[in-house]
């Protein structure tokens, strides 16, 4: 199980390969990569603020819960903060399990919790201004299925 909260960009494919290389019993690996949408070219940058310390605690707790609940072989979370450009990777999750149902469920669970329970806040910077991204009701609703 590995967590990295970092400012630097990351190579999602290389991270997925490194994650997979350590597995032996896992038949299923699911990855999710979140990217900065360019919003039709109107986005100049995205700034991600976080709460150092709580971020790591919250995500580690969520990962431990996912590993136990779906009997994962391994799990990975990378989440960036700082200033990002359009089409940059923001974060990724990887889960490995014997069968696919567990790997998919755990990846979706991790994403739902990261969206609404990990202390990150996104700000969209446009040429004409900036706005904090509002939380989506559908993200809060997504938590209720777990």
């Amino acid at each position: 199980m590995r967590l990295s909260v970092q400012e630097a960009a990351f190579d999602a494919g290389a991270e997925a390969n490194a994650f997979t290389a350590g597995l032996s019993r896992a038949g299923a690996v699911v990855t999710f990569t979140g990217r900065v949408r360019d919003n039709g070219g109107t986005l100049a940058a995205m700034e991600i603020e976080h709460y150092p310390g709580m971020t790591e605690r919250a995500i580690t707790a969520i990962m431990a819960e996912a590993v136990a609940r779906w009997n994962l072989e391994d799990a990975l979370v990378i989440h960036r903060h700082g200033r990002l450009a359009a089409n940059d990777p923001i974060m990724m999750v990887a889960t490995a399990a014997v069968h696919r149902a567990e790997a998919f469920a755990a990846a979706e669970f991790l994403m739902d919790y990261l969206k609404s329970r990990a202390p990150f806040w996104k700000k969209e910077i446009r040429p004409d201004g900036a706005d904090w991204v509002a939380a989506r009701d559908t993200d809060e609703q997504a938590l209720r299925r777990w």
Binding site: E49, H50, H79, R117, A118, P119, W121, A134, A135
Partner: protein, 83 residues
């Protein structure tokens, strides 16, 4: 007691600082918020709508009715938008 109070995202911008040290006898988060609102217009504006805010006590999500006993760090912020 002395508390470190942290602010994030638009809450930090409205209050105009990322953290402050507060000397208080507030029993609960709600009591602390009432004291902060009384400080100045910036705080009053920032805490105008508690339903749009979240609070963490020593880096654990909590409710506004939570007691502050033993707590050292209180953080206020809008709903998270990670992922």
């Amino acid at each position: 007691m002395q508390l470190t109070v942290l602010y994030f995202a638009w809450l930090r911008e409205r209050i105009g600082l990322p953290r402050e040290t507060v000397e208080t006898n507030a029993a609960t988060v709600a009591d602390l918020v009432a004291e902060l609102i009384a400080r100045d217009e910036g705080h009053a504006l920032a805490f105008a709508d508690l339903a749009s805010l979240r609070v963490a006590l020593d880096q654990q999500l909590a409710g506004f009715d939570s007691p502050l006993t033993g707590v050292r760090e209180v953080a206020f912020f809008p709903p998270m938008t990670g992922g």
